[in-house]
């Protein structure tokens, strides 16, 4: 299952310190890792903690000491980490985390929804969205590689149940292959009694901005590092990863853009629509931070319309991927019209019919409405 794909990735990455607090649907990730630590398959220190906040605090301490660290969480757990998410980035610690996308409460809901991770978009964590269990495992390795290159933390993000609890074949790479791709973590600075330094001091107005500017530069470096590492993976594992994945886009006049497991189902819909003669293609966004703005602008230069399917909500503005896309397109002359749709919140199934509906509405209208269009709503339950 997707959760165990993460565990294998972390084992192969030879993580040294793992700290986590259980939460559905993530629990199996660290449950399996604790087994691996207990039976000796993984020589890591497994730290049980009393909250997600403490879990990330442990990772911050261990990463400051120069260790490769890992934690995993979901929804409320990620929200509780919020303060320390900022800390990890500004401390420039390449911590890797798995976040299983789960809806935030209330009402209590353990099912899939991407708002939890997207709400952390301004914390400076890289975010990699996956749509298969193979991609989840490979993304853990990619995450360490890119994080350690850019000294930024990274989140491997995937959908609750549709991936976390789905079993499917995954090719588990050989340890030697992974070692060649991911050499031991050697931070430029770390806690060392033989070479004492000051970490995380008071930083006044005369320096703070420069440190933040360096974080922004690190994101640019990370984008380059992701492309390099994603290409290099191909020579080792035969699979390659780029910030955006294109499916039947060459001659497409309408592009569907989405992230997560819906992108997988969308391939089936694109094939069906192609058979009916509609010139549609799919762009799957893998990298949300850093956002591949330049690549998107170029890729969408000759496209008339784009359908964005968001399994998330920023109340008061709508779907988050749609907002991000509009922001990078707005200064391009003749940019495509962006049709924004919201579906699948709180684990509601995104069926092929829902995806097709989004594409059909886009095809039938010249201009999008101002707001995000909600698909699959039970009208009789609203306005009561």
């Amino acid at each position: 299952m997707g959760n165990h794909a993460v565990s294998y990735g972390v084992m192969l990455a030879r993580a040294q310190v793992i700290a986590a607090y259980p939460i559905t649907p993530q629990t199996q990730v660290v449950e399996f890792l604790s087994e691996m630590c207990a039976d000796g398959r993984l020589a890591a220190k497994f730290i049980k903690v009393e909250s997600e906040h403490s879990a990330l605090a442990c990772c911050i301490g261990a990463a400051t000491a120069g260790c490769r660290t890992f934690t995993a969480t979901s929804a409320q757990g990620l929200a509780l980490m919020h303060e320390l998410l900022h800390w990890a980035t500004a401390a420039r610690l390449p911590i890797v985390m798995a976040n299983v996308n789960r809806a935030l409460a209330p009402g209590w809901n353990i099912w899939c929804d991407q708002t939890d991770s997207l709400a952390q978009r301004d914390t400076g964590w890289m975010q990699f969205y996956c749509d298969s269990n193979q991609e989840i495992l490979d993304s853990v390795l990619l995450a360490y590689r890119v994080a350690e290159k850019s000294l930024l933390p990274a989140m491997v993000v995937y959908d609750a149940f549709y991936l976390s609890h789905t079993s499917e074949p995954v090719d588990i790479p050989e340890q030697e292959e992974v070692d060649a791709f991911l050499p031991p973590f050697q931070p430029p600075y770390f806690l060392d009694t033989d070479n004492p330094r000051t970490f995380y001091p008071l930083l006044g107005p005369e320096y703070y901005m420069e440190f933040r500017y360096q974080m922004e530069q690190a994101m640019e470096k990370a984008l380059k590092a992701f492309n390099e590492a994603g290409t290099e993976l191909k020579t080792i594992f035969g699979r390659e990863y780029h910030p955006i994945e294109y499916y039947r886009c060459e001659d497409a006049e309408l592009i569907l853009l989405t992230a997560g497991s819906a992108a997988s189902t969308a391939r089936v819909v694109i094939d069906q629509m192609r058979v009916k003669g509609y010139p549609v293609g799919l762009m799957k966004i893998r990298l949300f931070r850093p956002f591949p703005g330049q690549e998107l602008r170029e890729a969408l230069r000759s496209v008339a319309k784009i359908t964005v399917l968001d399994r998330n909500l920023s109340p008061g503005i709508g779907g988050i991927f749609a907002q991000e896309l509009k922001a990078v397109l707005v200064n391009s002359p003749k940019h495509p019209a962006v049709f924004s749709f919201i579906a699948g919140l709180g684990g509601r199934d995104i069926t092929p019919q829902i995806i097709q509906q989004a594409l059909e509405i886009t095809l039938a209208n010249d201009r999008p409405v101002a707001h995000s269009v909600w698909l699959g709503l039970q009208e009789e339950m609203i306005n009561k």
Binding site: W111, H165, T166, E168, P169, R267, V268
Partner: protein, 187 residues
């Protein structure tokens, strides 16, 4: 692609059954996907699990609304749960029941579906799987499925059981073989 939906109650092992079946298909060189119907799991509550298998990678990541076949671990689900909902014509409905298939003809008024029954409770009890009041039937019923569906061999099912079941592996595999021999079906 073939889609199979398993209906059961929390604690009966529907999810484990879906994994075992997927592993059995995988052993025969097929692509597979299995997953639970994402309920909050409580003992006795209706649950469902899904299996997809085919010759190509399976991109579809939604629940199964139009299964090719249905497996029912507890006959008392029939009625409260629309177990044949969306079932494709000619599909199998395999029920854990001591009754004969013709006693379930009301499930398929126009004989669109094929009905099979196997007394997996009895078989599980014979093999000391679970207790007489709470028999573990998930492995036995897969043996019956191998027989009626012709989609997967009983040997692959036995191998998958021995890999995936945490305890009493041999006994679970024998229960599957037993159900393979005892399943009752028409046509």
């Amino acid at each position: 692609m073939v889609e199979i939906r398993i209906h059961g109650r929390g604690g009966q092992g529907a999810v484990v059954a879906s994994k075992i079946l997927a592993i059995a298909f995988f052993k025969e060189g097929k692509y597979v996907q299995s997953f639970p119907a994402f309920g909050v799991e409580r003992r006795g509550a209706p649950v469902a699990a899904f299996v997809r298998t085919g010759h190509e990678f399976i991109y579809l990541r939604t629940e199964i609304y139009q299964p090719d076949h249905v497996i029912v671990l507890d006959p008392t689900l029939i009625g409260p749960i629309a177990v044949t909902g969306g079932l494709r014509d000619g599909g199998w409905v395999l029920i854990n029941s001591e009754k004969e298939p013709h006693q379930y003809h009301n499930l398929s008024p126009s004989h669109y579906y094929r009905i099979a029954t196997v007394d997996a409770n009895h078989i599980a009890t014979q093999h000391h799987l679970g207790s007489p009041t709470n028999p573990i039937v998930n492995t036995a019923i897969l043996g019956a499925f191998a027989r009626i569906s012709n989609l997967v061999s009983i040997e692959s099912v036995e191998e998958a059981i021995k890999e995936e079941v945490p305890v009493d592996r041999e006994e679970n595999a024998r229960a599957a073989r037993n159900a393979y021999l005892k399943v009752v079906y028409e046509g």
